[in-house]
Symmetry: C2
Subunit: 875 residues, 2 copies
């Protein structure tokens, strides 16, 4: 066998930004920056393929060792220093970096190469003994934790104890001698908890570190993060090995993180934070609260201006807002990393629109820059100004992630998950968050932390999730163990209500009413572009004139689903509905239905008037009749009294109507077929309303939708009846109404026999909620017992009730589209399941050629953007 040598290591000069898959995002960017002459410390990247190989076989590919060695030699040559050298030692960082950004999810080791000898060389060379021993201390702590599995809390306890003993407040107060002692204690700690000595040999340190980074790809945090963020199909993480530069070499050194634009508002303003005499992890981890980047201008004006130059270069080069890590080592600026910056939806919209104005990107690119799902955030509620005045402002922190929330305090992530599962709205309150808290953050309405800046873990993750977050509230003290939030004299307990304003950083005591958001500005511009590019129409699911109005405000182009049964529950209607159900014969049912007719008619008049000529799809009665009867003994007694019948009669009717599987029972068009008088009344209400509205000079386009059709004959029978009523009404009212009759495709058999059905239907609307229930054999009401576990286990990638199961339900839709269109070229196709407002599902609907999607009013903008993105991506 001839074996071709595979390239597993790329020197930074060998790569470029297009190589993300192989080099990871960080590696590709380091290479790209090197290519465009950004001052990046030199280094090389081990590919994601090597990680994949290691994940599978728990060993390195044969070629890897040699390639690492060669690249390391090149690095040593370039730096003029050598790893483990007693005079002139090289230090390197070892960092993970996958093709998709996973901030803080995987491992990083700094100062690698440090040992009992090197520390002395550094002390001698830098003439800064304190720096040398502090670096060694940091390295043992990081390496011990990340590579050797010693819990970082042991190191911190030891450090805290040392500080306390000395009466120090900050680490920086330690002298070199203090640090020497700490290093000795740290090494003992490693021996005790890891069961072996801290390795002195740098090459051993390096291979252990590389393995640790490889291994971090599959740690629980990383897996959870990928699941939550739907990151799939990646090989693994790359490993970036880079010469160390030190931000902790004294007062002319420092480190920071900056964004080329404000990641919260999107304003084109340089934005960032730094700490002097610190290493990068100190900023990101949120342990010390850093200074705003403008302070650097005063502290180190030359370096600040150089950084601003880099900011401009990088943004122009990448044509997107960048998240940049930098270090100043004894006055020299290095850029350690750049990547597309995470941002709020608000910022995403503004940056996208601004960049088009600045001619950095075009409209289509701008459309892709805003994750459609994120628009939800923009539509989030804000605090009621009047309400704000009535409660106590407790404290103010950093406005880390926008939105406003009210909830109960909870101190632990697991507890947040438990309470959220019970339907409680909670706010996770922590001194600081860590990657272990991700699930809790996801379950909470919002996050409040006492420490950490705008780029702290809490802030970054919350913005990614679109959760409200207030961070770095220095006035509060969070005692997780005692479950207390202490604000000066006030002590709040778990379960107490607080309100957060993520837009201002304010924390309030108690509940403040929330108000609807106002949209416009850049949002309006982006939406206009979306409308220009998208092919799919976007309708809404609305049952009332009010919802119709809200949806039109969000840009809905019609109603895709008006559920008539919701109208049945209101006021004295339910009374008439129950009369109908309890009637013993056709006469009785007709009498009760006659009472409902004017009410339904007036609903439709309201909706038709509101929709001003846009199409309105009205679904005939769908739920099983037992849903309209009372369940509790006392309600039954009450009903018996008002109806003037015996309780027994009602109970016996309830008994009669009981079903083992109501989902698959006597509902949908099955009602209209067994009780044609119901469909008749509904059709009459629709056409009478349409006639009245048309007479007022308003165009009206009713589309009557027959639910739950499984076999064409059902639709034929209902269509015949609807057409008869339509003809009657048009004759009576002397007005012609333009209408359509169609059906929901929600029974698998309907999808499979769509060719037959399309000969009778003028439109199909995919009822993907029920199609998912029947197609997957999953009762939505019951699946809670196993579906979350199924998603955790990766059986279903996502909850199929949230994101359309494209392989299964989607395949049924494809069959129905193909068969339906073949049989009826003019067939109109839409979707009205809740998937109609979920971006990946909208994209799928575009791909299979539907005419429209329909979703709840608040999701209309999401669907509009997702539909446009589908077009842009499809090209």
């Amino acid at each position: 066998m001839v074996s071709v040598m595979k390239k597993y290591v790329y020197y930074f000069t060998e790569g470029n930004k297009s190589m993300k898959e192989v080099l990871g995002g960080k590696g590709a960017n380091l290479a790209e920056m090197t290519r465009i002459r950004i001052p990046v410390p030199p280094g090389f990247t081990i590919t994601t393929e090597a990680c994949a190989y290691y994940s599978k076989s728990r060993k390195w590919p044969t070629e890897l060792k040699g390639q690492v060695k060669k690249s390391l030699e090149r690095l040593e040559k370039q730096m003029g220093s050598k790893l483990g050298d007693k005079q002139n030692p090289l230090f390197i960082s070892v960092r993970s970096g996958a093709a998709a950004s996973m901030p803080g999810m995987m491992d990083t080791i700094l100062n690698l190469g440090m040992n009992d000898e090197a520390v002395k060389a550094v002390a001698a060379k830098s003439k800064n003994e304190r720096f040398a021993w502090d670096s060694y201390r940091r390295f043992i702590q990081m390496f011990g934790d990340v590579v050797m599995g010693v819990d970082h809390k042991y190191f911190e306890e030891l450090l805290e104890a040392a500080k306390e003993a000395k009466g120090f407040k900050y680490d920086t107060e330690f002298s070199a001698n203090d640090l020497k002692k700490i290093v000795i204690a740290y090494k003992e700690l490693v021996k005790k908890y890891a069961g072996k000595h801290f390795p002195q040999e740098p090459s051993e340190q390096l291979s252990m570190a590389i393995n640790a980074v490889f291994g971090s790809w599959n740690n629980d945090r990383a897996i959870t993060y990928r699941k939550l963020n739907n990151i799939t199909g990646l090989l693994g993480t790359a490993v970036n090995i880079q010469a160390m530069v030190f931000g902790n070499m004294g007062e002319t050194s420092g480190t920071g993180v900056c964004f080329t634009r404000d990641p919260a508002t999107g304003k084109n303003e340089f934005y960032g934070e730094y700490l002097m005499n610190a290493q990068g992890e100190d900023v990101v981890a949120g342990i010390r609260t850093p200074l705003p980047i403008v302070e650097l201008k005063k502290q180190m004006p030359k370096q600040y201006h150089e950084l601003v130059k880099m900011r401009d270069m990088l943004e122009k080069h990448y044509k997107d807002m960048q998240d940049i890590e930098f270090t100043i080592q004894e006055g020299k600026l290095y850029i350690l990393q750049t990547r597309n910056g995470k941002r709020t939806a608000h910022a995403a919209v503004r940056i996208a629109v601004d960049m088009v104005k600045e001619k950095l990107i075009d409209e289509k690119t701008a459309l892709l820059r805003v994750p459609a799902q994120q628009l939800d955030q923009l539509l989030h509620k804000t605090l009621d100004n009047e309400g704000k005045k009535k409660v106590k402002l407790l404290a103010k922190g950093l406005p880390a992630s926008p939105g406003a929330v009210v909830g109960k305090i909870v101190f632990h992530a697991e507890h947040a998950v438990e309470m959220a599962e019970k339907g409680e709205k909670v706010i996770l309150v922590r001194t600081e968050t860590s990657p272990e808290d991700i699930k809790g953050m996801n379950a909470a309405q919002g996050i409040l932390t006492a420490r950490g800046g705008m780029t702290s873990h809490a802030a970054v993750v919350a913005r990614g999730m679109g959760k409200c977050c207030v961070s770095g509230v220095s006035d509060i003290k969070v005692k997780e163990d005692e479950k207390q939030l202490v604000i000066k004299e006030l002590v709040l307990k778990e379960g107490d209500f607080i309100t957060l304003d993520g837009g201002t950083g304010e924390v309030f005591h108690g509940k403040i009413p929330l108000v609807d958001p106002v949209l416009g500005g850049e949002f309006g511009v982006l939406m206009k572009w979306a409308d220009k590019h998208r092919k799919l129409n976007v309708r809404t699911n609305a049952d009332t004139p009010h919802d119709s109005k809200v949806a039109r405000g969000f840009g809905a182009e019609g109603i895709g689903l008006c559920r008539t049964e919701h109208m049945f529950f209101e006021g004295d209607r339910i009374q008439a509905v129950r009369e109908m159900i309890l009637a013993d014969n056709l006469e009785g049912r007709k009498k009760a239905l006659a009472k409902l007719l004017p009410m339904q008619r007036s609903d439709f008049i309201g909706i038709f008037t509101e929709m001003k000529g846009l199409p309105v799809t009205i679904r005939l009665l769908d739920p099983p009749l037992h849903e309209f009867l009372p369940k509790e003994e006392e309600d039954i007694a009450e009903l018996a009294k008002t109806m003037g019948v015996s309780k027994e009669k009602i109970k016996s009717k309830i008994e009669d109507l009981h079903e083992f599987n109501p989902m698959l029972g006597h509902r949908g068009c099955r009602l209209g077929i067994i009780f044609p008088e119901i469909s008749e009344m509904q059709a009459r209400a629709i056409f009478e309303a349409a006639a009245d509205v048309k007479k007022k000079g308003i165009t009206v386009k009713p589309e009557v939708m027959v639910p739950l059709v499984g076999i064409v004959k059902e639709l034929e029978l209902q269509k015949e009846l609807i057409e008869k009523v339509a003809a009657e009404v048009m004759k009576e009212k002397k007005v012609k109404i333009d209408y359509m009759i169609g059906t929901m495709i929600e029974v698998p058999r309907a999808a499979i026999t769509a060719d037959e059905i399309a000969k009778v239907a003028e439109f199909f609307s995919f009822g993907t909620n029920d199609l998912t229930q029947m197609g997957l054999g999953l009762s939505r009401d019951d699946a809670g017992k196993f579906l979350p576990k199924y998603v955790d286990m990766g059986i279903y990638e996502k909850d199929p009730f949230q994101a359309l199961d494209q392989q299964g339900v989607g395949e049924l839709m494809k069959i129905a589209v193909a068969k339906g269109r073949k049989a009826n070229k003019k067939l109109k196709l839409g979707i009205c399941g809740e998937h109609g407002g979920e971006p990946s599902s909208v994209e799928f609907c575009h791909k299979i050629g539907l005419d429209y999607v329909s979703c709840s009013p608040y999701r209309v903008p999401i669907a509009r953007l997702a539909a446009a993105q589908a077009v842009v991506r499809g090209k």
Copy 2:
């Protein structure tokens, strides 16, 4: 427009037996008999297309009138007499006749042409005034009833009153004068109830009669009959117009019905009945009890021998047992009709096998001669001989249709339907049955009539339905109105139990135990031919060694579905199952499962041993766990006591496990995935049993079937676990077991993604019960509220839970077969839903290329025959 003259009328000499679609069965046979020179009265046939035209437009096609006129003139010329002629009048019969036989379902008019003038001509010409007036009397009665809608009871009441007034017992006792008076009274009766005069003009009579026959195609009886017998796709009925011959011209005239072989036993013996001085309807309607055909030999030997000659000619010509109607008019024999005779399953098998021996037909034809569904009759139980001795024999009638039944007496068809719906076993007891009783006969277990022979309505229909029937029990008196069955002194009431033996004609008081049938003889020969020709394997659904044994006796070639949960209910197992369900943790569940392991293992040992090396497909636990918990308060209390836990704990568990749609809930492989320990125990039981049996030297082929798979990952997880257990057991027991792992295809998504699943599964078994439930969105437990009406309305042609819905569910199966085989060439395919024993479904399974069907033990012979028929038909 050039209009081509369409042929709507065929003279008997113009047609032949291949023209059933157009001429109907009766018309085609009359033409065929004419062609082969059987003495058939001449005539012509109006096509089914004319009927279809009339059904649609309520008028005749333009060409029809002229064509009828022309053919009538030809008939008059041939007969030398003229319709309505005052000297030499022609009389004709007008009869319906569709392509499929629908005995007694549609209308017939005899003696057409009779009027106030013709009656005199007949009297003069025949020198038999009495005959003339009797014919006129009969004609008015029939025409009044069938064509003019005057209820026949009015005529009968009048006739009865006249008889009573004269003290007569039989119609034949009336003098010509009596009949003249009756004719006058009849005409008044017509005027009174029909609102117009009885038409004197023969051409008016003829067109009215033709319209009545056309209309009879869509009367309720005919529609019900077609539905019950799954007769679809026909255009309508043909109308046969034929010169009348008279069986009631005095004592040298007569009429009868005969079968070329015994329709009950199949014995090659001439079989039939006749009445002297009567018209055909008198025999069929069962009003007078006719004489056996052998009596004719003594009464009219010449005619008898001629009839026997005709019998031989016709059977040889048609190569099937014939049902022949004949009339002797003043000593001359006419054959009025021949058709393939209805027969019992017993007779069908014997005739088919005998005819092969006689070289009349070949094996393949013989296989098609027995409707597979009918075999059910042969497998019917018979009366226990000992039991028979212990009860009172009430009476003996004709053994009209075989089988033995026990049931409650019911006197009205509607009531039979109601009681049957409540699950009661009833026997419909009537003086005589009429087409209006069909639904009730279908609902009843058996039928008992006081009047009517072996060819009476009750007998013919019961044989068609495979129902036990005893007819013509002259010792009993049925008082339908008083709901009494009177046998000499004994008066039985509705609800009293009786037992019928359809094989002997015996009627017993009370209940007699039933015993299983013994098969063999011709049945065995036929089954051997079936096995020779079929391609499908036939397996059985069996959960116990006993069922396995029974099924092997019926020819099962393996077990296609062994439901392990049935084993869970027995004895103290349910206790262990409940312990498992109530356990709070894995430990507790494992402890309970350990108790179940030896029990399951011993079940499997029993089944494997019984099946002696045939494949056994074992399905892992399928039903939701709540099915194993008690429902009633006192059972809960009992369980709490035995389990030593509180009632509250059990109730809370029941509450926890409650599901809104258990069909779509936590069941099937979803149990094994959330509780892998259950699948583990079951797999262990299977492999330990297999190992034990193999060690005894018996070959064993377990096929482990994972239920309710919807997505391939589910199967992967369960397969991994099963393989792990299999490997462990094989290692422990030191024996290699040949096994397969596969899945049921019962979730629509599984069918749609069968390519993915086939990569992991070694076999698919279509679970068409659930696939129908999910695919059609129909809960089998709930559909009773609308499904029967759906079938009545023709929305679904047949109950999709009985006969596979080929367009819908079948299409899903086709997709799964195509995708599955493409992905895995070696994939084994079967069906284990109840459709696996229904002939049309078996044929479908053959057509789509399954490897086997599996059905309940008693249906195995049906499936074997149906599988062979599918092959023969497919060629």
